[in-house]
């Protein structure tokens, strides 16, 4: 049986809140009255709006994550609401932003974005929407710290819901680099001349500058000696075999032993370990922590998107996706039982405070975005 996010559903939800004691009788009747008034006013135009929401577009990273979303969120959502979910993929956040920039409002709806700085970037481009959190009751299961950081960007409102988190730490082949060596050298392993030609790195300017800050003993969220940091980026470039551009390429380079050490995404390295490769993973002090979110783009059908977000945030969906992609979900472990695998994932914080992770400050990184992304483009090519 299909069930759309219509007025009946809204009434049922309101009634449920009233029956649960979340709102009082006066509030319940007031909202019913207001809804009736609003319905009377907007009915002549409502059919056009409803007719437009026959599908929602979701864009993500593809692979096992998409499969998990399809199975645990999209199909049940379509079954309940009758709204189809068109599932697209992208290779990176920058590429996706270019596509959104070139699109018409409403063409893209929900995206699985990385980092708070991306969220702030979308906000800067006036692409943020405003979620009605009452329509996303599962938001209450999410770690508050992850939600608050987004609220800070958009004046207390939300245009996304946090979904998962992870780290970009140091990955190394234990056949050639020992755990002790890694503990001793830390981030400087990426500029170790003994490993020349066997070092890799992500072709992402933020990651390059973050690790350059660590290599030069600086705070990644407050680099004071930029030239020293760029010199470290150059040193890494001269020792590196290749900059990788995707998670698949990272895994291939490590698995094929083309490189012995690189920074890497915690979930991808865990996947390599699961496949039996003797790859170590270490988050150095001030290692790069990040979170991903499900972002609703301005111009999207909000209620339909909020309903879908609620499906995607449901613990069974979040846990299935987390187990598929090997990144801990944004669910608060003190509120939700996360099963057996998630506590073993890298970067997982059982306290739900995430106090051990250092996240990129969006204002700081976006303030340097235009300058540093361009400079890295040049440094990368030998300048």
């Amino acid at each position: 049986m299909t069930k759309k996010m219509d007025n009946t559903t809204r009434y049922e939800r309101l009634r449920e809140r009233y029956m649960n004691g979340d709102i009082d009788r006066r509030g319940f009747l007031g909202l019913i009255g207001a809804a009736g008034l609003a319905y009377g006013v907007q009915t002549p135009f409502a059919k056009y709006a409803h007719a437009a929401t026959d599908q929602v577009r979701f864009d993500g990273w593809g692979g096992v994550v998409s499969e998990a979303f399809r199975k645990h969120a999209f199909d049940p959502y379509t079954e309940k609401t009758g709204i189809a979910v068109v599932d697209g993929t992208f290779g990176g956040g920058d590429e996706y932003l270019s596509r959104v920039k070139a699109s018409q409002p409403g063409e893209y709806n929900i995206a699985h974005l990385s980092g708070v700085f991306d969220y702030a970037r979308y906000h800067g481009l006036e692409l943020t929407s405003e979620l009605n959190e009452d329509n996303i009751p599962n938001l209450e299961f999410v770690i508050p710290k992850l939600v608050d950081v987004f609220r800070g960007v958009t004046d207390g409102k939300l245009s996304c819901v946090p979904y998962d988190y992870g780290t970009t730490g140091l990955a190394y082949n234990r056949k050639y680099v020992s755990d002790d060596q890694m503990q001793e050298i830390g981030a400087k392993i990426l500029i170790d001349e003994n490993l020349k030609g066997k070092i890799g790195g992500w072709s992402d300017w933020r990651t390059r500058m973050w690790y350059a800050a660590l290599q030069t003993g600086q705070d990644p969220n407050g680099v004071t000696d930029e030239e020293a940091a760029w010199d470290a980026v150059r040193a890494h470039r001269d020792l590196a075999l290749k900059y990788w551009t995707s998670g698949a390429e990272l895994m291939s380079l490590l698995a094929e032993e083309e490189i012995y050490v690189t920074e890497g995404w915690s979930g991808r390295i865990y996947a390599l370990q699961e496949q039996g490769h003797d790859i170590g993973y270490m988050d150095p002090p001030n290692g790069f922590g990040w979170q991903e979110c499900l972002f609703v783009i301005k111009g999207s059908p909000m209620e339909a998107c909020e309903e879908l977000l609620n499906f995607m945030l449901a613990p069974e969906t979040s846990i299935a996706v987390a187990e598929g992609q090997n990144y801990p979900p944004a669910l608060d472990p003190t509120k939700v039982e996360l099963g057996g695998k998630i506590p073993t994932l890298p970067a997982f914080d059982p306290t739900g405070t995430l106090s051990g992770l250092t996240f990129a400050k969006p204002d700081y990184w976006n303030g340097h975005e235009a300058d540093w992304s361009k400079t890295f483009g040049r440094v990368q090519k030998g300048y």
Binding site: G92, D94, E95, L97, S98, K101, R121, G124, L125, E126, G197, W205, R237, A240, L241, K242, Y243, T245, S252, E256, E257, E258, E369, A370, S373, K374, G377, R378, Q380, K381, G382, Y383
Partner: protein
């Protein structure tokens, strides 16, 4: 309407769908790119509409872009020469073979059935540290440790040659196939050796095909960005990679537009020089 007027209009009527497609799909987007190149990128990544020469000033005066452009043209030139050296004997063999010409041409076309990206990535499995070539050398005892062969300029050129060689062979083949073999026999009967007959008769007559193949290989090679991305090292970027970075990574569409127009102008000038001296007819034959 007179018959003359009707006849004069007929070609335009027949051409109108194609002209409309070219106008809508090529000319109009190109005009958008031209307009974009005069805008500016703001700090947030949004575009500032207006008429600014900053992007053009940067693209034309910054030695960084000039150096990468020269490097791109050099790599495209080396690729074209390698394709010509490897392609000519193959095209000659196909053109002069008797019974199996169709099969050989089919074999030549086979790589086009596989995605260009997959074909490029296949070199990782061939030349990688644990790839087929290293495994063979190790098993034969020729080397004791794998050789690092990937991720340098040589592998970028190798990938480009792999991609472009069929274009060169097809163009030379079309040219060779149109040469009357009796001309070589006539040269032989006049005392020329086979080699002299080839050098003085066949090769000059096939030069238009070689030039057409060379132009195609050069233009396509200079405009690629996938090959250096997959097979290149940290420094092995080509000019199209700069366009990609400006538009996708830096969200700087105005600068990316100026850079792409700059590359288009350089390659367009090359095509015009070719057309001035050799004409486009041979190229059309090769593409057909």
């Amino acid at each position: 309407m007179s018959i003359e007027t009707r006849e004069a209009r007929q070609p335009w009527i027949l051409l109108s769908p194609a002209l409309a497609a070219v106008a809508l799909l090529l000319f109009v987007p190109l005009m958008f790119i031209v307009v974009y190149s005069f805008w500016l990128r703001t700090a947030t990544g949004a575009d500032q509409v207006g008429f600014y020469l900053d992007n053009w000033n940067e693209a034309l005066t910054d030695p960084f872009y000039r150096d990468i452009l020269i490097s791109t043209l050099r790599i495209a030139a080396i690729t074209t020469i390698v394709c010509a050296i490897m392609g000519y004997p193959s095209a000659y063999f196909i053109a002069r073979s008797r019974g199996n010409k169709a099969i050989l041409l089919l074999l030549l076309m086979l790589p086009f059935w596989i995605s260009y990206i997959i074909r490029t990535m296949s070199w990782i499995n061939i030349l990688g540290v644990s790839g087929a070539f290293n495994s063979l050398l190790l098993s034969l005892g020729i080397i004791s440790e794998p050789i690092q062969m990937l991720y340098n300029e040589a592998t970028v050129i190798l990938g480009l040659v792999h991609f472009l060689l069929p274009f060169m062979i097809l163009n030379i083949y079309v040219s060779l196939d149109g040469i009357d073999t009796n001309l070589e026999d006539a040269a032989n009967s006049l005392g020329a050796t086979k080699w002299e007959a080839f050098l003085q008769v066949t090769l000059p007559l096939s030069l238009p095909g070689l030039a057409a193949g060379g132009l195609l290989c050069f233009v396509l090679g200079a405009g690629t960005y996938i090959t250096p991305l997959v097979l290149g090292g940290p420094r092995d970027a080509m000019f199209a990679n700069l366009v990609f970075e400006a538009i996708i990574t830096q969200l700087n569409w105005p600068l990316g537009s100026a850079l792409s127009l700059m590359l288009l102008a350089v390659l367009g000038a090359l095509v015009m020089i070719y057309n001035r001296y050799l004409g486009m007819a041979q190229l059309m034959k090769g593409l057909g």
